[in-house]
């Protein structure tokens, strides 16, 4: 009893702090989320700054060396062309994280606006907007990307756009569901009764209230996007060697799993760690952003 009260007290936000301060306080109490955030920060920092400091370049080949196990000069070994695996993982992290973040940002923006507008206006607007989503859903992703690549040429930026353009569909559906439930709440009606414009109601009253589930889904989208990038790279539509990405490295590692297991092990471990961390952070974010969670 005393313990649960103490736990409640710990969760009760202190008065007079902003939503973000409150969220931050709750987030800090969640050990897994903190662990995830720290792990992500280290991985991101290593990917951004690592290639600048590390003595080996990711594309420098040493054909004589070939695939060699971890050693003093190459701590994570080398691939079959003798390229330093650590350098490739670090620069691959740049690509993977960038794709993950950029494509997710694209999908987040479109999905959030599309879903909340459809649900808020309802009726015919909703029907038309969601049918468009359905149609795009039915479009085979691979064909869509191949089409994009053949029309606009192979382009790194296009990769973000292509992935983002596919990923926003689910986001739109999730947001729509949330908004549908929300818009019957009295505070939305109260906002109308105060004379607010629709735009202000959507931006100020609806969207902040769907941020919880959206934050969680976002952290799930980032890994999904990174996997998609790996898939595209595998088809030769994504990142091209000698550039690397985690997806590409895992694919190459899988091909040489028996002769050179370290080629698969390290990128796969790092990728897994990143995905786990993102999930922990997502869970933490959901709890932290839900001001209502501390009601009871």
């Amino acid at each position: 009893m005393a313990q649960s009260e103490a736990a409640l007290a710990a969760f009760a936000p202190e008065p007079g702090r902003s939503l973000w301060q409150d969220a931050w306080a709750r987030m800090r109490k969640n050990r897994m989320a903190v662990f995830g955030a720290i792990a992500l920060a280290i991985i991101a920092a290593a990917s951004v700054f690592g290639p600048l400091v590390w003595s080996h370049a990711y594309e420098a080949q040493d054909l004589v060396l070939g695939a060699s196990p971890p050693s003093a000069t190459h701590p994570l070994g080398t691939d079959k062309l003798g390229r330093d695996q650590l350098a490739r993982i670090l620069s691959g992290g740049r690509v993977s994280l960038l794709v993950g973040i950029a494509a997710t940002a694209v999908s987040l923006t479109i999905g959030l606006l599309w879903g909340s507008i459809a649900a808020y206006f309802g009726g015919r607007v909703d029907a038309v907007m969601m049918r468009i989503v359905d149609i795009l859903y039915a479009l085979p992703f691979t064909i869509f990307v191949i089409l994009l690549m053949t029309v606009f040429g192979r382009n790194f930026v296009l990769l973000f756009v292509a992935i983002g353009a596919v990923e926003w569909l689910t986001m739109a559906r999730i947001v729509r569901g949330q908004v549908l439930a929300l818009k019957r709440q009295e505070f939305i009606e109260a906002a109308v009764a105060l004379g607010l414009r629709r735009r202000r109601i959507i931006l100020r009253h609806l969207i902040p209230n769907v941020l919880g589930p959206v934050a969680v889904y976002t952290t799930l989208t980032i890994p999904a996007v990174m996997l998609l990038e790996a898939f595209l790279s595998f088809l030769g539509l994504g990142v091209q060697p000698p550039m690397s990405s985690w997806g590409l490295l895992i694919k190459e590692g899988a091909e040489m799993m028996e002769e050179a297991p370290w080629l698969l092990l390290y990128p796969a471990a790092l990728f897994t760690l990143t995905l786990f961390s993102l999930n922990f952070v997502g869970d933490g974010l959901r709890d932290a952003l839900d001001v209502r969670a501390s009601r009871d």
Partner: protein, 335 residues
């Protein structure tokens, strides 16, 4: 000229199962500074009537079929959305039933209090903050300087309703509509909130419409009471007169049903039967099937709300003909 004059308002909901005539030819007027109570059971159309005025009924399925509502020279029913937006929150404030859900959980009380000021261009920045703080103090929120930065979930139900009242009044409207403002609250808090609404409204000379299903609540606060049943007005009267001599069998039955009136140990009085199916169109008086005084003419209709010598209005045929007279169901109120 009256502040608000509603004539022949009809609002219907077109559902898959048929047309629900929620408000069926309702007329009333409200002077500046006057308090009108609208009483009726669930589904009697009291809320829909008021929401129709502000254009707040969901359309579709809702539709305002006919009528007019002159508010200080503007017909609310035929105004453009932009005109209505300028009236909502600025000239007509609204308080909702459930204070737990009528505040946005993600914004601080201050952010919500200043919203009417900002969107109607009445004040901004430090001035808006000052007004918000003053409004919060005015409605009796203790430690307002600190509490204004809190979130709604840090407030109790009664305190939230105080915030809602402050929000509804902050733009100094001419009319305040309170839709069952105390229904979701504790009994002990109800009286406080009612007192607050009454005090604010009298001080500022704001006209008010108080919607309630509790006759006692309405009688304490309002100058005049309008009783609704199945989408029509069955009686209007000054609240004193309504209690002294109800002019409609339904009003009388409502009064008889009040637990406060019954002796301990006796069985509570209940009106027999159920309200009519709102999808059915009735020729006569909707209360006739449940009315112990009903005669054939009541069922056959038509019925109209007609002024009575005493200053009120009644829709009861037999009252209008002088065949019925209810003597005072004594005014035994909460005080």
């Amino acid at each position: 000229m009256a502040l608000l004059e509603v004539e022949g308002l009809r609002t219907a909901f077109h559902t898959r199962h048929g047309v629900v005539r929620a408000v069926n030819d309702v007329s009333f007027r409200l002077e500046r500074g006057e308090t009108l109570g609208i009483v009726g059971e669930s589904g009697s159309g009291k809320s829909v009537a008021c929401l129709s005025l502000l254009g707040l009924i969901p359309r579709p399925p809702g539709r305002i079929e006919s009528g007019s509502a002159q508010f200080d020279g503007t017909d609310l029913l035929y105004s453009a959305e932009s005109t209505l937006r300028g009236i909502r929150g600025r000239r007509i404030g609204m308080i909702f039933q459930d204070p737990m859900t009528s505040l946005n959980p993600y914004l601080t009380v201050e952010q919500q209090l200043v919203e009417p000021l900002l969107i109607h261009g009445l004040a901004e920045g430090a001035e808006a903050h000052r007004l918000a703080l003053a409004a919060l103090k005015e409605v009796g929120v203790p430690d307002a300087e600190r509490r204004i930065r809190d979130y709604p979930h840090q407030f109790s139900g009664g305190m939230r309703q105080r915030v809602m009242i402050a929000m509804a009044l902050i733009a100094k409207p001419d009319l305040l509509i309170a839709d069952e403002p105390t229904t979701a609250l504790d009994v002990t808090v109800q009286a406080q909130i009612l007192d607050l609404i009454e005090r604010e409204q009298r001080q500022r000379g704001v006209a008010a419409i108080l919607i309630s299903h509790d006759l006692g609540v309405v009688a304490d606060v309002c100058d005049r009471v309008m009783v609704m049943y199945a989408g029509i007005v069955v009686e209007t009267a000054p609240s004193e007169a309504l209690f002294r001599a109800p002019q409609h069998p339904y009003t009388r039955a409502l009064q008889l049903s009040r637990p406060a009136r019954q002796a301990k140990g006796t069985e509570l009085y209940a009106i027999p039967g159920l309200p009519p199916d709102p999808m059915q169109v009735l020729a006569g008086c909707p209360f006739a099937p449940r009315c112990e005084f009903a005669i054939d003419d009541c069922v056959r209709g038509p019925i109209h709300l007609e002024p009575l010598p005493g200053g009120g209005e009644s829709a009861c045929l037999r009252i209008q003909r002088g065949e019925l007279e209810f003597e005072g169901v004594a005014r035994a109120l909460s005080q």
